[in-house]
Structure formats: C-alpha cells, structure tokens
C-alpha cells in the first residue's frame, strides 16, 4: 500500500500538465494588434512572430513577422475568426503595441477596448497609439530596420522618444482606460505614421538600401473627447502637454539668445505641479514648473563665463516655457474644448464639493478657465567647455 502511494506520487510529479496546455509551437505570439473599422465591421490585424525567422540559427530568408487579418462585427469575433487563416491561435500575452486606425478613433475607442480590458490573456503594459491619417493595417505592414520585429521597433522608439524628446506620450492601456473613465481628464494618444514611399513596405527588400524607402515614425499627440478623436496637437503643444501633466523626463529646448541666434538647454529634471482652486464659484488652476538643466549648445555670441549671462538665459527660458504652455492651453481651450490636461481632476482633488456642481458643464468651464503659470529654471552646468567656439578670444 505504502509503496503504491509512493509510486503514484512520483508519477504525479512527472506526469503533470495543465488542463488545456498550449505549448510554444501552438501559439501565434502576437506583438502588435491593429484595429480598423470599415462599414460597421472591425478589421483586426495581428502582427505575429514567425519563430523560425527570428531564431539565431535558421531562417533569415523570409519576413520575421506575418500579418494575420480577419473581419468581424466585434473585436473578439474577429480575433477568433483569425483561426480561419492562421494555423495557431492568437496569443496576445506578449503584446507590445495596439494601433488604432484613424477611422476607429474617430468613431469611438471605448467599445473595441472593452475586450482588451476584460480578457485574461491581455496584459496591461502595452502602448496604445493612433495611426495618423492611415489605417492600422498599413502601419503594421511595414518592415523596419535596426529592430527586426516592427512591433518591437515601435515600442522601443516610443519609449526612447518619450524619455528623451518629450513630444510623444507612451500611454499604456490601463492609463488610457483611467483617462477615458475620468470625468476631469480627456484622453491623449500618440500618433504614428508611415513616411516615405507608401507602397512596398511589406517586403524585406525595402530594407536593402541604407535609407529605407518607407519607415514608421511617431507624430504628435491626438486629442480625444470622451472616446472620440477630435484633433491633433502641434509639436510644441505636445511638449507643453507633457510638461503640464509632469511626464517630461528629459528633453532639449531651443531658446533665443538675448541678442541674436539660438541656444539649447538640456533639460535634466522637469517637475510640474497642478493645483486647482475655486474662488467665488469660479474654478482656476495654478501650474508650478521647476526645471533643472544644463546648457547644451550655444549658437550665439554670449559670454557664458559670466554668471549674469546664465541668469539671463534662465529668465529667457522661463519666459518661453511659460508662453508655450500658455499658448497650448489657449489653443486646446479654443479648438477642442477637451480638458486633456486633467484640470478637472485637479479641481476635484482640491475642491471636491464645488466639483460636484462644476462637473456637469465642465467642458464649458474648461474653455474659460484661467490658468496661472509659474516657471522656475535653474541652469547648473555648461557641459565640457565654457564659451562657445565662435566667441571671440579674451586677451
């Protein structure tokens, strides 16, 4: 008896397995998913890795990824329908990018996103972007240099540019859903577009030249109202947006010198604080920005060995940041009437009682909202040299 149980135990260790196990060779590992809408039907495109092509030993003849597509009345339906053309079932657990076609963004992204927040196989750490004046299908159909797998290129590019240039915003799905559900903040997504020749990007031959014929790159930010795309920000507005919501990690700013020419500031630390307030029933918002930076490049005659010049540059930069932020807010208030900056949330946090009465007509209040901006810039270092090359030598 004892021995029987013992053997059974040993066997149960060896013979375990999941109920519905799916081994690696049964998965279609999907790294990017595209959603388009045409004539009441969703067109879902899944960029699936071809394992043989990305392995270290074999492959390298075909494309590293393939596109599986299907149409359906709902997203879920379409994803399941993909099995009609793919020998493996779509596995979205490693998804990196979700690309929304412009058509779907204009009609509303709430419904197609429900499946993605409900299904257990989707995680919450992938980026969501909008194809600018394009379909998601086309974006996912382009080969990329440097990164073998286009989805990885998109993911890493967005990550790097968000950290170093700050005109893009890497929004993950759970952040997007929080924005969509919030009463005091509208959603914003980064745009993605194909540049260069519009045809033939699907073929690997497009990568055989140094300058690839077609490339995918990020554009400025898309403004949503409720869950519908209403317009696009300019580059300066996009950077101001990231500044206001305190998402700037590092960036480079061009400022004009006191006399003529330009100088660059390398921003090392950018902190902004939003504070809401309600005075006599009227909401208002204070933005407090603190910037620490270095002088990155001087392209004008200024003697930066003097502390006063540094101070002058600080003042100029302060003023320019203030203006950019101010202009961007005014432009969003006038053009889109959508509170993408989360001013409503700031008011809710500071004055929850007054917010109750303000929230019903928040879009109206937002367009008239007075915003006070305070910027404080500290320039610490000048890089490895002091004066610029063109600065006349002191005798």
């Amino acid at each position: 008896m004892k021995r029987g149980i013992f053997i059974l135990l040993i066997l149960s260790i060896i013979l375990t397995g999941c109920w519905n196990r799916r081994e690696l060779n049964e998965l279609a590992i999907t790294l990017a998913l595209g959603i388009d809408k045409s004539e009441d039907e969703y067109l879902i495109s899944a960029q699936v890795v071809v394992p043989g092509e990305v392995s270290l030993t074999g492959g390298k003849v075909g494309s590293p990824v393939t596109l599986v597509q299907a149409r359906g009345g709902t997203v879920y339906e379409a994803i399941r329908k993909m099995t009609k053309s793919s020998p493996r079932k779509i596995y979205p657990g490693h998804l990196r990018m979700l690309v929304l076609g412009e058509s779907v963004a204009e009609e509303g992204i709430g419904d197609p996103l429900d499946l993605i927040s409900r299904d257990w196989e989707f995680r919450s750490d992938f980026y969501v972007v909008v194809a600018k004046e394009d379909t998601a299908e086309h974006i996912l159909n382009i080969q990329t240099p440097l990164e073998n797998i286009p989805a990885n290129k998109m993911f890493n590019t967005l990550k790097v540019s968000e950290e170093n240039w700050s005109a893009t915003s890497g929004v993950t799905i759970d952040e997007l859903i929080v924005d969509l559900r919030s009463e005091g903040k509208e959603a914003v997504l980064t745009g993605i577009l194909a540049t260069g020749k519009q045809e033939g990007g699907s073929s690997k031959q497009s990568l055989e030249t140094i300058l690839s014929n077609i490339n995918i790159q990020y554009d400025d930010l898309a403004v949503f109202k409720d869950d519908k795309l209403v317009g696009w920000l300019t580059e300066n507005e996009s950077r101001a947006y990231n500044g206001i919501i305190n998402e700037v990690k590092s960036t480079v700013a061009a400022i004009s010198c006191p006399n003529e020419g330009k100088a660059n500031i390398e921003v090392l630390d950018f902190k902004s604080k939003l504070k809401g307030n309600v005075k006599n029933g009227n909401p208002e918002v204070d933005i407090n920005v603190k910037i620490v930076g270095n002088i990155g490049a001087i392209e004008c005659p200024i003697d930066i060995s003097k502390p006063e010049s540094i101070e002058a540059l600080e003042k100029i930069y302060e003023k320019e940041v203030e203006e950019t932020i101010n202009n961007s807010i005014t432009s969003v208030q006038e053009k889109y009437e959508a509170d993408i900056f989360g001013f409503g949330d700031a008011i809710y946090r500071s004055n929850p009682k007054e917010w109750e009465s303000l929230k019903n007509q928040w879009n109206q209040h937002f367009t008239e909202l007075p915003v006070t901006i305070k910027v404080d810039v500290k320039l610490r270092k000048t890089g490895t040299v002091n004066n610029s090359i063109t600065e006349p030598r002191k005798e």
Partner: protein
C-alpha cells in the same frame, strides 16, 4: 477526544492568516466600490472596530478556558437551545468553507488556468483541505508557521516592487466621501476580517496551552491582518486609482501585474498569486476544522476525523452549485453573507454575554466546572 494543543505563537500565525484570508484578494475592490479613494480609511476604521469585536470574543472565550464555542453554547443555553445555536454556527462554517472554495476556484480559473473546469481546481483544493484537517490542528498550525514566512516575504517584495509605481495624487481628495458610504464599506470588511473570526473560538482558548498569551495573539493577529489589508488597499488606490480598483474583480492581482522593476523583474503576478492562495487556504482550513469539530461535539462523537471525507464531498458540491455566476456571488457576499455573519458572529456572542450575566452566580457556585 485526545488533547491537542498549540502554542500562542502558532495561534497568532493562524489569526493573521485568517484575517487576511479573503480580504486581500477581493477587499480593495469591495471597499473602493463605495468609498472610492477613501477606501483605505474604511479599511483602517474596520481594523479598529475589529479589535473591539475580538475583545468581545476573548472575553467570552476566557469565561470557560477549557471549552470550545460549541461546548460553551450548551453550557450557557442548556442542552437543546445550545445545540440549536451550535448548528447555526456549524452551518456558517460549512457555508463559508464552500464559498472560499468557490473563491479559490473562481480566482484560478479567471486569471491563471481559464480553461480548466472549476470542478478540477476545487476537488484538488478540497483534497489538501481534508488532508490538513485530518492531520489535525497541531500539524496545520505548524505548516502555517512555514506559510507565514513565505507570505510575508512575498508581501514585502510586492510592497517594495510596486512602490515605484505609486502616484500620490490618486488618493486626493481625502475624506471626500460621506460617512454613510465609508461606514457601509467598513462594515463589509469588518464582517469578513473580524466578525467571522468567531470560528476561531473553536480553537481559542480550549486548544491553546497558554490562554493568557493567546488573548494577546488574538488582538495582535487581528491588527496585523487588518493592517496588511489596509496596506494592500492603499497601494491599489495609489497605483491603479480608485476607479480601476473598483472596476477589477481581483484588484490586488492587477496590482501585481503592474510590477516592473527595470524591465527585469516583471510578469511576476503568478508568483504573487501564492499570497492569495496561502491566505485563502489557511482560512478555509480553519473554517473546515471548525465545521468538523463542531459537528463532532454537537453529536458527542469521539473523533471528528471520520467526518472529514463526507464533509469534503459536501463542500465541493456546494462550492460548485452555490452560485450560478460571479455576479451572484458578489451580491451574496455583500448582502446575505453579511447578515449571516452578523447573526452568528455578533448577535449570538452578545446573547451569550447577556445570558452569562444572568447565570453568572450559578456558574460561580459550580466552581467553573
């Protein structure tokens, strides 16, 4: 019945895991549904009030340091009324064992092994449940001592890893919700973590070798459990925001999904699921132990062990048939389950206090025998 005894530290461990049990998994969501970003206040309030309830339990327990809750009922209310109340008590424990089994199955099949039928997960869980209870209190108390080390290592890791994702503004505005909403949420958690601890009166103080220290363990254990749940709740709100916390069925699992340390330590939520399975399991074992021992004592059986197999089968079947869907379970939890708990976990003990006050002299005369 042979006398098994555990020491006060082992009891502390059991109380901690019992209090954390289910609350850590579903608590944040249930709290945030009504209290929004003030959910953590509700959690702290219920932890505070929970100590009062525990005080009531220890008071009752120490009147008769050698009797279990079921035996106490018979001593206080007389044989037949006492047996009736004990039956209700056993019913509560049986029901909650089944509900917890449903929880574990539902959690596993939602997030980890969705294509596995719940019957399979529940039968496996019930097997180790029956095994633990058959091996007896001493054995599973000792295994709980090991589990708690794993539990707190994972918990501390979770807190450290997730701390980089914290957004402090999510918690503002503080004290915005009205008292009624916060009170309702607190009640929910109070019932789950403290009122249900009435089941522990089957162990405390009769089966503990140092009843006086065990009283302290009861308090400290309940406090630690409440604090752990409060910390998880506040982390959920800090990281996910109150809306997302309320929207998810298992928000603390969503919390673990967010862990990403330097693109290196990520996707560890399956590991973190051990936290909830440990909590659920120990709580389930304690309910099941109270059920088996309770029935044995009501029927004056020598051994409770022979009851474990049939009860195990009943529990599995109950867990599979109790709810037809998840929403039904959620509704049951926030309505009927609370009434049942309050009836047996709060009203019955208060009634006992009342009867004891009347019959005090009589017990004193008998010399407490």
């Amino acid at each position: 019945m042979q006398k098994v005894k555990i020491n006060s530290y082992q009891f502390l461990v059991l109380v901690i895991l019992f209090s954390i049990g289910t609350s850590i998994l579903v608590g944040p969501s249930a709290l945030a549904a009504k209290s929004k970003q003030d959910a953590w206040i509700a959690a702290l309030i219920s932890t505070g009030i929970g100590l009062l309830i525990v005080w009531l339990f220890t008071k009752i327990g120490l009147w008769f340091p050698t009797l279990t809750f079921v035996q106490m009922n018979e001593t206080l209310f007389g044989k037949w009324i006492g047996k009736f109340f004990s039956c209700l008590f056993v019913f509560l424990n049986l029901l909650f064992t089944a509900i917890l089994l449903y929880y574990s199955g539902s959690f596993l099949t939602t997030h980890l092994i969705p294509n596995t039928p719940m019957a399979a997960t529940n039968i496996l869980m019930a097997l180790i449940l029956v095994m633990a209870v058959r091996l007896g209190l001493e054995t599973f108390a000792r295994s709980a001592e090991i589990f708690i080390v794993i539990f707190f290592s994972l918990f501390i890791l979770l807190v450290i890893f997730i701390s980089s994702e914290i957004k402090f503004e999510n918690i503002e505005p503080i004290f915005e919700r009205n008292i009624k909403d916060i009170a309702q949420s607190s009640l929910l958690m109070l019932v789950v973590t403290s009122v249900n601890a009435v089941s522990l009166l089957m162990i405390f103080p009769a089966l503990i070798n140092q009843p006086k220290q065990a009283k302290k363990s009861f308090f400290i254990g309940n406090l630690i459990g409440g604090l752990v749940v409060s910390i998880i709740t506040i982390l959920c709100i800090f990281v996910l925001g109150s809306d997302a916390t309320a929207r998810q069925i298992y928000p603390s699992y969503g919390l673990a999904k967010k862990i990403n340390v330097g693109n290196f330590v990520n996707r560890v939520e399956a590991l973190m699921a051990a936290l909830w399975i440990i909590g659920l399991y120990i709580k389930m074992v304690l309910y099941f132990y109270a059920t088996a021992l309770g029935i044995a004592q009501i029927c004056n059986l020598k051994e409770y062990r022979s009851l474990t197999y049939p009860l195990g089968i009943i529990v599995v079947v109950l867990s599979l048939t109790l709810f037809s869907n998840v929403m039904e379970q959620e509704q049951f939890d926030t309505t009927i389950a609370i009434y049942i708990s309050l009836l047996i976990g709060l009203l019955l003990p208060l009634l006992m206090v009342f009867v004891y006050a009347i019959r005090k002299k009589q017990f004193k005369k008998d010399g407490g025998s």
